[in-house]
C-alpha cells in the first residue's frame, strides 16, 4: 500500500490507483508535513474529519469487533468465551463454505468476462457514427437505475413462467423447465441478470474511454493501411487498457459480494447450489452463528485484500504500457 505513494509510482498512476489516492497518500504526509506545513491550509484536514470519523465508526470499529469475536463462541448476545482458532479450523472443513467460495469465484470470473466483452462491443458501436446514438445510449443505461432486487424478481418470474411457456410453444426441449429449478443451470440465470444489470455502468466507462482517444491516431492508422478490425485491436484496445483494468477490478470486486440478485432469483437454491459467500456470512446473523461466520468473513476479507493488491500491481504495469 505505502509504495503507491512513492513519487515514482505516482507518475505512472492510472485512474484506478488515483481513485485510491486519498487513503493511500494519507499516512506518509506526516513525513513530508514539515516541508509543507506552511503551504497547506488546515481547512483541508478539517474536510477529512467527517469521513474519517464516519469511516472509523461505521467500518473500522465493527470490522475489528468482528475479527475479535471470530475467536469466541459469541452468538449475537449473552455470554461468550474465547475458543481460539476453533472457528477457523471449522470453516476450512465446512463443505458448505468451500462450495460457496467455489460458486462465488466461478460466478465472478464468468460475469466479469461476459460483462466486459459485451459492454466493450456495445461501447464501440455506440461511439461510432450511427443514427440515434444518444437515444440508444439512454436506452442501454436504463437497467442501471432499477434496483437489483426488483430486477431479480422480474427475471425470476420470466425464468419460472414466461421462458418455459415460450420454450414449450416453440419446442425448445431443454428450456421447457425453469432453469432456476435446475441445480446445474441456476447459476447461469444469476450471471445473465447480473450482467444485464451491470453492463450499463461498464458501458459508460468504456464510452468515456473511447471518446478520450483523439481522432488523429485513427487517421494515422488508416493512412498506414489498417482495416477497422486491426484499428480496434492495435489502436483502440491499447489506448483504453486503463479503462479495461478499472472495469475488471470494480466488476470483480462487486461480483464477489453478490447478494441481492441471488436472493431475488434463487435464494441460494435449488438446494445450496447458488449460495454466495455474502449469503453464507449473513446466515451467521439469522442462524445464531455469529462468531463462526465472522471467522468466515475475516478469511474473505483477507482474500479480498490479496486480490486487490495483485490487481493494483497489474494496474501499474498496464499503466506503464499505456
Amino acid at each position: 500500500m505505502t509504495t503507491t505513494a512513492s513519487p515514482a509510482a505516482s507518475t505512472g498512476r492510472t485512474a484506478a490507483s488515483a481513485d485510491r489516492a486519498p487513503t493511500t497518500t494519507a499516512p506518509p504526509t506526516s513525513g513530508r508535513s514539515a516541508r509543507r506545513r506552511q503551504s497547506v491550509d488546515r481547512i483541508y484536514y478539517l474536510f477529512l474529519v467527517p469521513s474519517l470519523v464516519l469511516f472509523t465508526l461505521a467500518i473500522t470499529v465493527p470490522a475489528l469487533l468482528g475479527i475479535f469475536y471470530s475467536f469466541t463462541n459469541f452468538i449475537g448476545f449473552g455470554d461468550w468465551e474465547f475458543i481460539g482458532i476453533t472457528n477457523y479450523i471449522a470453516v476450512f472443513s465446512d463443505p458448505a463454505i468451500l462450495s460457496s467460495y467455489l460458486f462465488t469465484f466461478g460466478f465472478a470470473i464468468v460475469t466479469v468476462l461476459l460483462v466486459n466483452v459485451v459492454a466493450f462491443l456495445l461501447a464501440v458501436g455506440l461511439t461510432a457514427q450511427i443514427k440515434a446514438k444518444t437515444a440508444l445510449r439512454a436506452v442501454f443505461v436504463i437497467p442501471m437505475v432499477i434496483s437489483g432486487i426488483v430486477i431479480a424478481y422480474v427475471f425470476n418470474f420470466l425464468f419460472s413462467n414466461s421462458l418455459p411457456a415460450f420454450a414449450t410453444a416453440v419446442g425448445i426441449g431443454p428450456l421447457q423447465e425453469s432453469i432456476l429449478a435446475n441445480p446445474d443451470l441456476a447459476w447461469i440465470s444469476i450471471v445473465i441478470v447480473t450482467a444485464w444489470q451491470s453492463i450499463p455502468g461498464t458501458l459508460l466507462i468504456y464510452i468515456a474511454g473511447l471518446l478520450s482517444i483523439p481522432g488523429e491516431v485513427y487517421e494515422a492508422a488508416a493512412i498506414d493501411g489498417a482495416k477497422p478490425f486491426r484499428q480496434l485491436w492495435s489502436v483502440t484496445l491499447p489506448l483504453v487498457a486503463g479503462y479495461v483494468v478499472i472495469n475488471v477490478i470494480l466488476g470483480f470486486k462487486n461480483y464477489l459480494n453478490a447478494y441481492e440478485v441471488i436472493v431475488g432469483l434463487t435464494n441460494g437454491g435449488p438446494g445450496t447450489s447458488t449460495r454466495s459467500i455474502a449469503m453464507t456470512i449473513f446466515t451467521g446473523f439469522t442462524g445464531g452463528d455469529y462468531a463462526y461466520q465472522m471467522a468466515n468473513a475475516t478469511i474473505f476479507f483477507v482474500i479480498a485484500i490479496v486480490i486487490s493488491l495483485i490487481q493494483l500491481r497489474i494496474t501499474r504495469g498496464k499503466a506503464a504500457l499505456a
Partner: protein, 420 residues
C-alpha cells in the same frame, strides 16, 4: 452503565437546566402514573386484532399503558438490553436461544400458567429449557396436515386415507383420473420442509426424542452413531421422495403463491400446507370446500399425528423494568374469551384446558388428534438455522441422493456441536 456515564458527563458539560430536566424525568417515572410498557407482536395478519385489543385494555384501566410495537428487531432489542416488555410471537428454535440463556423471566406465578395443557407446555421445552422457570406461555397452536379438496375426493370415490397403502392407492386413483394427486411448491425450500418432510418424518418417528438423542451425541453424530439423520430418517425420507413423485410436473418452479391459486382452482387433490394457506386459498375461491387429515406414513392408523407449532407464545423478558405491569397485561391477553376469539378468527387451536373447540370445517379434521395430544413439532424446525436444512430437503425432493444429503446433515450437525 453506559447510560449512567453518559448522563454524568452531560451534567458536567451541559447547562444545569438539562441536568434538571433529566432529574425531573426520573422522578416522574417513579411516582405513580400509568406504567408504560411495550408489546411486541408482529404476525402481520393478526396486527389489527391486537391493535384493537391493546386499545381496549388501555381504555379499561389506568395503571398500565401499552404501546404496540410491530416492527422492532428483537435480537437487537435483547442485545441492547432494551427488549419489549411483553412479546407475543411464533415460538421456535431461534426464540429458544433467548430463553436458554435466561433472557426470559419466570411466569409460573401467574394463575393462567396453571390452565395451560401440560402436553402443549411441553412443546416449549422440546427446543430448550431454563431450570426452574416457566418462561414461555403458549398462546395459540397452529396444527398442520394434508389439506384436501373434498369435492375431488368425493367425485373419485376416495376416502380419507388412514394408512400408507391407502394413501398411495388414493394417489394412483387420482393419477388415473388425470388429476394431480399432490400440489407441490418445491421452489420455496420452507414449503418442502414444513410439508412433505415434516409430515413424513413426524408420522413415522418420535421427533423430539430423536433430537434429544442427537443433542446428546453432539460431535459423535455420524456414520458410526446409532442415531443419525442418515439412519433414522432414511425410511421416512424415502417415503417423502415417493410422495414427491405424485406432484405436479412443474413443482420445481412453483412457489407458495402458485400453490394456493392452483388449489383454489381445483387443480390438485392434496396440498401439504398449514392453516395459513387456507386463508390465502379463500382469497381466490371463498366457497371451495376443503378439509384436513394427518398424513398416514405407516400401516397403523394409531400412528396418525398432526404437525403443530406454537404459532404465538407469550413471554416477558428478564430485562423488562415493568415486569408487574407486563404480567397484568399478559393475564389480560390470556383471558379465556380473548383466547377463544383469537383462535376462532385465525384458525388456531387453544392452549388451555378449557379452550373452546375449533369450529371451522376446514380444520375440524385435526381436532381429535390435537385433543388427544397426538402431535409433534416439525422435524425441520429443530435444526439450528445455520444449517440450511430446508435447502437440503428441497434438493432431495427434486432428485438429490437421499443418503448423501442426509449424511451431509449429520456432518453439519457434528460440526455445529464442535464449535457450539
Amino acid at each position: 452503565m453506559e447510560r449512567r456515564r453518559w448522563r454524568s458527563r452531560t451534567a458536567v458539560t451541559l447547562s444545569v437546566a438539562v441536568g434538571l430536566t433529566l432529574g425531573l424525568g426520573g422522578c416522574a417515572a417513579d411516582s405513580g402514573g400509568p406504567a408504560d410498557i411495550t408489546f411486541h407482536m408482529s404476525k402481520p395478519e393478526a396486527i389489527p386484532y391486537f391493535r384493537e385489543l391493546t386499545k381496549k385494555f388501555n381504555a379499561e384501566q389506568s395503571d398500565v399503558r401499552v404501546t404496540l410495537d410491530t416492527a422492532s428487531n428483537l435480537s437487537a432489542g435483547f442485545l441492547r438490553g432494551n427488549p419489549p416488555d411483553v412479546g407475543l410471537l411464533n415460538y421456535n428454535e431461534e426464540m429458544a436461544r433467548f430463553m436458554e440463556r435466561g433472557a426470559l423471566s419466570d411466569l409460573s406465578d401467574l394463575p393462567v400458567a396453571e390452565r395451560i395443557r401440560p402436553d402443549v407446555q411441553e412443546l416449549v421445552d422440546q427446543y430448550a429449557t431454563y431450570p426452574g422457570r416457566t418462561s414461555v406461555l403458549p398462546y395459540s397452536v397452529a396444527a398442520a396436515s394434508v389439506i384436501y379438496n373434498v369435492e375431488l375426493f368425493e367425485e373419485n370415490g376416495v376416502d380419507v386415507p388412514t394408512t400408507w397403502d391407502e394413501l398411495i392407492a388414493a394417489c394412483d386413483t387420482f393419477e388415473a383420473a388425470g388429476i394431480t394427486p399432490i400440489y407441490s411448491t418445491f421452489k420455496e425450500p420452507w414449503s418442502v420442509g414444513q410439508g412433505l418432510f415434516d409430515y413424513t418424518v413426524g408420522g413415522s418417528i418420535d421427533v423430539a426424542g430423536f433430537y434429544d438423542e442427537l443433542d446428546e451425541l453432539g460431535t459423535e453424530v455420524g456414520p458410526d452413531s446409532d442415531v443419525s439423520f442418515e439412519k433414522t430418517l432414511k425410511e421416512p425420507v424415502e417415503r417423502m421422495v415417493e410422495l414427491a413423485g405424485y406432484s405436479n410436473d412443474n413443482a420445481a418452479s412453483r412457489s407458495y403463491g402458485d400453490g394456493n391459486v392452483a388449489m383454489a382452482k381445483g387443480e390438485a387433490a392434496m396440498y401439504m400446507q398449514g392453516p395459513w394457506a387456507l386463508g390465502e386459498i379463500a382469497k381466490t375461491d371463498p366457497d371451495l370446500e376443503l378439509g384436513t387429515f394427518p398424513l398416514p406414513v405407516t400401516d397403523d392408523p394409531d400412528d396418525l399425528k398432526v404437525r403443530v407449532n406454537l404459532d404465538l407464545a407469550l413471554w416477558v423478558p428478564e430485562a423488562s423494568t415493568e415486569k408487574e405491569a407486563a404480567k397484568t397485561f399478559v393475564s389480560y391477553l390470556m383471558e379465556q374469551d380473548t383466547l377463544d376469539e383469537y383462535n376462532a378468527e385465525f384458525l388456531g387451536f387453544g392452549t388451555t384446558v378449557d379452550a373452546a373447540p375449533a369450529t371451522d370445517e376446514r380444520i375440524l379434521g385435526m381436532q381429535e388428534y390435537y385433543d388427544d395430544g397426538r402431535f409433534y413439532q416439525g422435524a425441520s424446525k429443530f435444526v439450528p438455522l445455520s444449517i440450511p436444512t430446508d435447502n437440503y430437503i428441497q434438493s432431495i425432493a427434486t432428485g438429490a441422493d437421499v443418503d448423501a444429503t442426509l449424511r451431509r446433515l449429520d456432518a453439519d450437525w457434528a460440526r455445529l456441536a464442535l464449535r457450539g
